[in-house]
Symmetry: C2
Subunit: 305 residues, 2 copies
C-alpha cells in the first residue's frame, strides 16, 4: 500500500525494525522501555508540572500558561492496563492541556497483572471525586484517555452514573480499547494492516486485566448501555484492530441518544498522537481534540450548541 502521508511509511518501517530487534520482552522490560522511549519526548512548552497525591493515587497536575481557571482535564493514560506511567505520557498530556487551555490531571492508577480489575477503576473514581471535592464543577471537567485509558475513562463514567454522581462535560476517547474479547470485525478486516497491535497482544493484556474475573460492562464498555453519558469525541485510526471498538461504541451511544462525534483518521495507526514526533498528524489530532474540549468547557458555546 502506498501511503499519502509520508510520515506513515517512516513510522511503519521504524516500528517493524524495533519489534524485530526487541523480540519477546517481560512486563518489567516493556514498562522500562516504554517509559524510557516516551519519557524522552519533551513536554509542550510553557507547562508547569506539580506532583500530587489525589486520595492516595500518585498524580501530576500539568498547568499550561494561560490555563482557564477552574477548568480541568482528567486524563487516563493507556498501555493495555499493564504498562504506561506518569513518565511515559507526560508529554502527551501536556499537549492536550495546551490544546484545551486547561489544567490536566494525569494519574498513576494501579496496573495489572499485580492489580487487576477493578483496582484501576477504583483509583480513577477516587480521583474524580477528589477533583470535584476541590471545588471544580463537573461541567468544567473533561474525562479522557487513549487505548486502555479510554477503556478506563468510559468505565469511570459508567461507574459515576451507577453511583449517582454528576457526569463531566465530555468524554474524549482516542483509539479506545472497549472490548476485552477480540470479537470486533476489525481484527479480521484491519488485522493485516495494523503495525502496532495484534490479537495475541490483546489476549495477553485482557487476561492480565480481568485476572480471572468475568468480562462485564465496566471492563468492556461495548457491553454497557451508554444512556446518560455526556457528549463524546472519538478519534481512531483506520489502521488499527481496535477500530471496531470505536465504531460499535459510537453506534450504541448514538442509539441511546448520546451526542457522538467520531473521526476516523485514514492511514493512522493506534494512538498516533502519542507518536507525534514521528507522525505530525498526531499534533493535528491533538489540536482537534483540544478545540472540542474548549467548546465543551465554554459555557457560552455549550449553551449555543
Amino acid at each position: 500500500m502506498a501511503w499519502k502521508d509520508p510520515d506513515i511509511e517512516t513510522f511503519r518501517a521504524l516500528w517493524k525494525k524495533r519489534a524485530a530487534t526487541r523480540g519477546q520482552v517481560t512486563i518489567p522490560e516493556q514498562r522500562a522501555t516504554f517509559d524510557a522511549d516516551m519519557g524522552a519526548i519533551p513536554l509542550a512548552p510553557g507547562c508547569v508540572v506539580e506532583s500530587l497525591d489525589l486520595s492516595g493515587v500518585p498524580a501530576e497536575k500539568i498547568t499550561p500558561t494561560g490555563a482557564a481557571p477552574g477548568k480541568a482535564l482528567l486524563y487516563l493514560h493507556g498501555g493495555g492496563h499493564v504498562f504506561g506511567s506518569l513518565k511515559s505520557h507526560r508529554h502527551l498530556v501536556s499537549r492536550f492541556a495546551v490544546a484545551a487551555g486547561v489544567t490536566a490531571f494525569h494519574i498513576d492508577y494501579r496496573l495489572a497483572p499485580e492489580h487487576p480489575y477493578p483496582a484501576a477503576l477504583e483509583d480513577a473514581l477516587k480521583v474524580y471525586k477528589q477533583i470535584l471535592a476541590t471545588g471544580i464543577a463537573p461541567e468544567d471537567v473533561i474525562v479522557g484517555g487513549e487505548s486502555a485509558g479510554g477503556n478506563l475513562a468510559t468505565a469511570l463514567l459508567l461507574k459515576v452514573r451507577e453511583d449517582g454522581l454528576p457526569q463531566p462535560a465530555g468524554l474524549y476517547l482516542l483509539s479506545p480499547w472497549l472490548d476485552m474479547t477480540t470479537a470486533g470485525e476489525s481484527y479480521v478486516k484491519v488485522g493485516a494492516r495494523d503495525p502496532i497491535i495484534t490479537r495475541e497482544g490483546i489476549e495477553m493484556v485482557s487476561a492480565a486485566y480481568l485476572g480471572g474475573k468475568p468480562d462485564n460492562a465496566f471492563t468492556s464498555p461495548v457491553r454497557a448501555d451508554p444512556t446518560g453519558l455526556p457528549p463524546m469525541l472519538i478519534q481512531v485510526g483506520s489502521e488499527e484492530v481496535l477500530l471496531s471498538d470505536s465504531l460499535t461504541f459510537a453506534d450504541h451511544a448514538a442509539m441511546a441518544g448520546v451526542e457522538v462525534k467520531l473521526h476516523v483518521w485514514p492511514e493512522m495507526p493506534h494512538a498516533w498522537p502519542l507518536f507525534h514526533v514521528f507522525i505530525s498528524a498526531g499534533l493535528a489530532a491533538i489540536e482537534e481534540a483540544g478545540q472540542w474540549m474548549r467548546q465543551r468547557l465554554d459555557t457560552k458555546l455549550r449553551a449555543a450548541a
Copy 2:
C-alpha cells in the same frame, strides 16, 4: 421524554398536528404541499439564483456574495426519490452555499414512480460530468445531499468510481437514506421516537424507486464497498429510523480506510436543517457542514490536514 432543546418540543407538536390534519395524501398532493411549505422559506440573504440546463437536466446555480471562484457544491435534494424539487430545497441549498462560501448547483433530477432507478442516477452523473466539463476541477467540488439526496450523492460517487472518473474533494451526507430495506436496527430502537419517518413510508418510496428492479449497491450503498470514496462528513439525528443507515455506512467506510467524520446530533429528527425555521440547531448543523466544506476545498488546509 423531556427535550433539552425547546425547539424540539414545538416542532414535534407541530408535526403531529400536521400529520393528523392531512391524513393520507396522493403523490401529486404530497409534492405540491411540500413545495408550498418549504418553498415559502426565504433564501439566505445575498444569493443570486440562475436557472440553467445541465446536459438536459433542469438546474439552478445559487451564488452567494463573495463565493470562492472555481469552487462548487453539487447538492442533491431529498424527498424519498418521489418528491422534493428546486423550489422546496432552494432555501436549504442557499444556506449551504453561504456556509461553504461557494457556488451551489441544485438539480431537478427525475423522480419515481414515473422515473424509477436508474433515472435519477443517470441525471446526477450527467450533471457531475457537465460541471467538470465547464472547467471546475474535481478537487474543487463537494457532492452532497440529504435523505434520498444522500443516497443519490453516494450512488453517484460509486458510479464515478466505476466509470474511472475523478472523485470530488468530499462527500457530505445529511441524514442519508442508504438502505432500501428496513433492516437497520434503528427501525426497532428509534422507531417509536422518530416524529417524521415510518417503516411503512420507507417501504412505499423504496418500492417506487426500485420500480421492480432488484436492490443493489447503487440503490443501497450500505451494500457497496466504499474503497476509494473521498473524505466524508455524515450528520444524522439520534431520533430517526435512518440512524443505522449512517452508522453502518460509516463503519464500512472506516474499515475501507476512508476518512469519516460522523456527528450524531442528539434530539434531532430527520434532516433537521431543512426545518431550521422551527429548529435553530438546523442552522448550527449547516454552519458545521459549511466549515467542513471550506476545509475540504481549501488547498492549503487540505494539504495540512
